[in-house]
């Protein structure tokens, strides 16, 4: 690669890497809690009776 190309290459990554990382961090931060956890008692009531109190 020639010098302008090499410099552009580095500049792209200096801008791109934090942007992607921020997007990834936001997604991980806002991800809903684990849905596989034990259901709450309210949810269990709905499942059994078909209606909530």
């Amino acid at each position: 690669m020639k010098r302008p190309q090499r410099r552009l290459h580095l500049m792209i990554w200096i801008v791109l890497a934090p942007t992607i990382a921020a997007g990834l961090a936001l997604a991980l931060w806002r991800a809903p809690p684990d849905l596989s956890a034990e259901p709450s008692s309210d949810l269990a009531d709905i499942a059994v009776t078909g209606e909530a109190d």
Binding site: M1, K2, A31
Partner: protein
């Protein structure tokens, strides 16, 4: 090389390489499916198609991660150069896995309703202002569009038509595609992922690719910055001593205006040529002299060291530089390039094996 274009110039190594990549991809998908079906069978009804879609997507992402890591790794260690030689094939395989992932997802999740699947892709989830509910498919679609453009222009015909700098610029969009794919996975699969393994792998993949590019790029930047101190008042630059150059290899030296020159030794003869290959500006000085020709480490393009001309029937040419040996035994290279096709004045080392 540029006499005429062929779809792929196959040789034994490329066939073995491609077979290995196909086998590894099939094995990855098979293992992914087997583990997924086994864990699903204990809970919900197994969704084999959904698993296959994810396996194909993961395979494509993994291959793209490897593809993007090869370039900077090869800048940092020459041992990776053999992988660089066939990187384009890995890129094409990435695209094929992405096509399968995209087509299957489109028709499995959007093909059953009254809407056109492509319309459904955009309107079925209207939560564009939400973070956790954002239609992650849009990221994937944008990445797929870029990968399609890459694949469509990957052939040397387009490289020649667009010119190497424009083609390379266009293909740098693959970095944006990688970012979009990270977001596609983060706002899609990771939103419902129970294990920490998946998010950890995603963070590691991004850190690897971005870290390697920044480290390799910064090293090149430092090299380039060092060139500012290069002076050649009389038009000749002190490069090295003959014994500094390993046989059949080169020493790369910076030139005052930012270009680089590769000074090769072939037995008792020393030659200097410009460092950028005509194909994709690959670093010729990191290649070797093979069968009497300077061979680019990226894709094997060859040039005669005497005059920089490719062997018949090819017709590419790189510029040579004149050389002289000082009374103190130092090699000086003339900064000004010779016209294309003109042989440079070489140096013959006395006492060295021819």
């Amino acid at each position: 090389m540029g006499l005429k274009y062929q779809a792929v110039q196959w040789n034994g190594n490329k066939i073995v390489y491609d077979l290995c990549v196909v086998a590894a991809t099939a094995a990855f998908i098979g293992v992914f499916m087997a583990i997924g079906l086994r864990s699903q069978a204990t809970g919900h009804q197994a969704d084999a198609v959904g698993l296959l879609i994810r396996a194909l997507g993961d395979a494509a992402f993994l291959m793209l991660t490897i593809t993007l890591a090869i370039g900077p790794l090869a800048r940092l260690t020459p041992r990776v150069l053999p992988l660089l030689y066939n990187r384009r094939h890995l890129g094409v395989m990435t695209f094929l896995a992405a096509v399968a992932h995209f087509a299957l997802a489109l028709f499995w999740y959007h093909g059953g309703g009254p809407l056109n699947p492509f319309v459904s892709l955009f309107v079925s989830n209207p939560l564009y202002r939400s973070v956790e509910g954002f239609p992650f498919e849009i990221f994937g679609l944008a990445a797929f569009a870029i990968l399609f453009l890459m694949a469509a222009t990957s052939h040397d015909f387009w490289l020649k038509t667009l010119s190497a700098p424009v083609w390379k610029l266009l293909h740098m969009a693959v970095y944006a595609a990688y970012g979009l794919l990270v977001l596609h996975v983060a706002y899609g699969a990771l939103m419902t992922e129970k294990s920490v393994v998946y998010p950890a792998l995603m963070v590691a993949a991004l850190a690897l690719v971005a870290g390697l590019h920044v480290v390799a790029g910064a090293r090149e930047w430092r090299r380039d910055s060092g060139m500012k101190g290069v002076h050649a008042p009389d038009g000749w630059l002190d490069v090295c001593s003959p014994e500094d150059i390993p046989d059949k290899r080169a020493v790369i030296a910076p030139l005052p205006k930012g270009d680089r020159v590769a000074v090769f030794r072939d037995g008792a003869k020393i030659y200097a040529v410009e460092n950028a290959c005509r194909h994709q500006n690959g670093p010729l000085g990191e290649g070797v002299i093979k069968d009497g020709f300077i061979t680019c480490p990226w894709h094997g393009w060859q040039y005669r060291p005497q005059d920089g001309v490719s062997p018949p029937p090819f017709n590419e040419r790189i510029a040579t530089h004149d050389l002289r040996l000082s009374s103190l035994g130092r090699i000086f290279v003339r900064v000004k390039k010779n016209p294309l096709g003109q042989a440079g004045a070489p140096i013959t080392i006395r006492g060295a094996k021819p």
